[in-house]
């Protein structure tokens, strides 16, 4: 079965060639001590696009998206998100930007002392400062329904499976309606069926909430389902860029090795 047959809705999320750029990294370098992790990274993400970053472990994929959201500051170069240069922002401006940029951690990073409902209410009450309980309940139920976990609303994170935790993590990120989503290995540690479900869910959510996404993954099936465009990172440099089909036939052995 071809990718298009498996994912008939995929084209709906594809970006237009002349769409607005929402994330732009220009000649970014980042070192930790003597180790230079990002050597000269430049990338751009268009509105509505799904960009997948591929690469071996320890090559700087997570560092790249942490620079986008201001969790790390680059040593050189510029990172511009929704027209604002991240390194130039003060605390208040950075907080406002972060509301527009969702970040899904590898583990889901659910607050384990809170129920699923409290996890989802947290960004609404603490970040958006909402206090209308009816509206909060409506948004919590809507987003949980979207990820197919309406029944888990009063469960503790410890009672959820790995896939459920990622769904709740995704719901918690989407509940504030971000414009950009950053996914750090969303399918790592999941079985192939759950992994496919999460990939499909990411695509559905992108369509529903009209987000632009950068996805870090090693999971080629996930990349095939989600990606409009892929970038391959090796030794702190982007070594290839293209669609899934283009990179599958790349003349570079290193790039083709991901598709075997």
């Amino acid at each position: 079965m071809s990718t298009a047959e498996k994912n008939p809705k995929k084209d709906a999320g594809k970006s237009q060639p002349n769409a607005e750029t929402v994330v732009e990294m220009h000649n970014v370098r980042k070192s930790f001590g003597d180790k230079e992790v990002l050597k000269d990274i430049s990338l751009s993400l268009k509105r509505g696009e799904n960009l997948v970053i591929l690469g071996r472990s320890g090559q700087g994929k997570s560092v790249t998206i942490k620079c986008i959201v201001g969790m790390l500051t680059q040593d050189e170069g510029t990172v511009t998100v929704l027209g604002e240069e991240v390194a130039e922002l003060d605390d208040k401006e950075l907080k406002e930007l972060r509301i527009k940029v969702g970040f899904l951690f590898q583990s889901g990073a659910l607050y384990d002392s809170m129920t699923v409902r409290e996890n989802l209410e947290f960004p609404l009450t603490r970040v958006l400062k909402m206090n209308d309980q009816e509206e909060i309940d409506r948004r919590v139920e809507e987003v949980l329904d979207s990820v197919g976990l309406a029944d888990a609303i009063d469960k503790m994170p410890s009672e959820l499976s790995g896939g459920m935790r990622k769904r709740v993590g995704l719901a918690r990120t989407l509940i504030v309606h971000p414009e950009i989503m950053l996914y750090d290995e969303p399918t790592t540690g999941l079985d192939p069926i759950t992994s496919r479900e999460i990939s499909d869910l990411i695509l559905q959510m992108q369509k529903k909430y009209k987000t632009s996404s950068i996805i870090i993954t090693h999971d080629m099936e996930c990349a095939e389902i989600i990606a409009d465009r892929l970038i391959v990172l090796n030794n702190g440099l982007f070594v290839a860029e293209g669609t899934y089909q283009e990179l599958e036939k790349s003349d570079k052995e290193f790039v083709r090795s991901f598709f075997k």
Partner: protein
Amino acid sequence: MSEQTIPAYKRWFEETGEQVSFFTAFFRNVFRGGFEWSEFVRQCYEIGYKSITLVGVTSFIMGVVLTLQSRPTLVKFGASSMLPLMVCVSIVREIGPVITAIICAGKLSSGIGAELGSMKVTEQIDAMDVSGANPMQYLVVTRILATTFMIPLLTMMGDVIALFGGFLAVNLADSTSWTLYFNKCINSITFVDLLPAFIKTIFFGFAVGFVGCYKGYNSNSGTESVGKAANSAVVNASLWIFFLDVLAVQITQLLFY
């Protein structure tokens, strides 16, 4: 440069700098507004209410033991009637605040260190930060203020229970009435005994919360660091309590005697 190759004195300066920066961040967030009242009350319950049994039992035993140990010496000098005075002054001025704070360092600093350490390792603190929420205000400010508020109350409760333990111990050998014992106790202490003792418990409470939060919040990635955070929180909080106690005694001596 890796952590192993940094000389110890440089690491010490680095850590001191980080603690100062954490300290200023705490106060900035206390006065920033949007105080988390519900979380503060929950922490007061977790920290205060759930420590009542431990502090109560320890204080009772402390009162009994102090009385039993002191009595033979006082009897030898014909000063057994001074026993309530001695027990009361010892407990109120020194033993009550220090022992309660040390127990709280063991129970609360390690608990806070481990809890925040595991939140750091599982990226919960990063998730809170990156969502635009303020983890410092939600996790740190509430915990430090809760220990600062609850440890003085626990100490007062512990002092009363220790005196009650002393009363029971006195009655093991002699027959002393409840009224006489407590009259002697109350007459033996003055404002100068009570006020400095109470003020230092506020600082002890702050140290217990601050050290636990600092160690947990700044732990490295990896499960090993959770244990390290809990362990170093207890050790450092205990050292801070003794250091603050010495300082408090010196200041009290200068101001009141």
